[in-house]
Symmetry: C2
Subunit: 132 residues, 2 copies
DNA sequence: CTGCGACTTGAAGCGCGGTTCAAGTCAAGG
DNA sequence: CCTTGACTTGAACCGCGCTTCAAGTCGCAG
């Protein structure tokens, strides 16, 4: 064994993702193995970082196809930069919304309203975001 | 027509949700019609508020089944309160993560790194959340 | 009474993000 | 050499959140 390359089981263990998910990501163009050891995929350690990024973005509501686009980007890809900027605005909005939701949940834990959902303080989470 | 009750088309238009989605939500116990006008569902206007709450929670990553649980909660439901408190922590973590991601995206829009994803500043989004 | 169109139903279908399965391949160790 | 066991493949399947479809039922206008 080379020592610098990791096999899929190792990557799965260290990334917390299932091996099946890694193969799935490969089909979708999100990652690729450096080579093969026989039939077996051999991954560079950097792949772990990339997977962390993928997990992060996916948790943030990005689709795998979007993530794949981002991963291919160079600094000269203008359209992609616009896409990233748009995503940034989207994420900002989500942060604001989630922050309100968090405050509502925090309140809910101590609220005395009977149908909890009727509490006006709880409902603040629902305030419409000003038109985008 | 009664004037206080809305039919499904009206609710769909005003909530921005498809009629099929409203029927789906009914099957899942998220909403219910006040009654029927012939076969047709007749909704109370408050349903619109409830739908706004549902959309908000769903966008925040809650499952419909979770939302249904929350919607049934009274102030004495201790287990549910714990669930809400747990969700609050979860949402807080998400907010933190998304905030980092937003900062990374903001940077990405002006970054000169070639594989954009290799930029160390970009990668800060990926910093592991301290063990939960 | 005759459309018409918006509603009703249950069942099937879809896109996403995977997991599971069956069958096969390979490297290392006894 | 032969077994073991982690890997390989493609294809089928899953849960979620809906949408679409086919077939039927209303209420209202003409």
């Amino acid at each position: 064994m080379d020592g610098t390359l990791l096999d899929i089981g190792e990557v799965a263990r260290r990334s917390g993702l299932a091996a099946s998910a890694l193969r799935f990501y490969e089909r979708k163009g999100l990652i690729q193995a450096e080579g093969r050891n026989g039939l077996r995929r051999a991954y560079r350690p950097e792949t772990l970082e990339r997977l962390a990024l993928i997990s992060c973005a996916r948790d943030a509501g990005f689709r795998l196809s979007e993530i794949a686009d981002f991963l291919l980007a160079g600094p000269s890809d203008t359209r992609l930069r616009e896409h990233l900027a748009a995503k940034e605005r989207e994420v900002s909005e989500r942060v604001a919304q989630l922050t309100r939701l968090r405050d509502s949940l925090r309140h809910a834990a101590v609220c005395e309203h009977d149908p909890l959902v009727e509490c006006p303080e709880f409902k603040q989470a629902v305030r419409r975001v000003p038109q985008g």
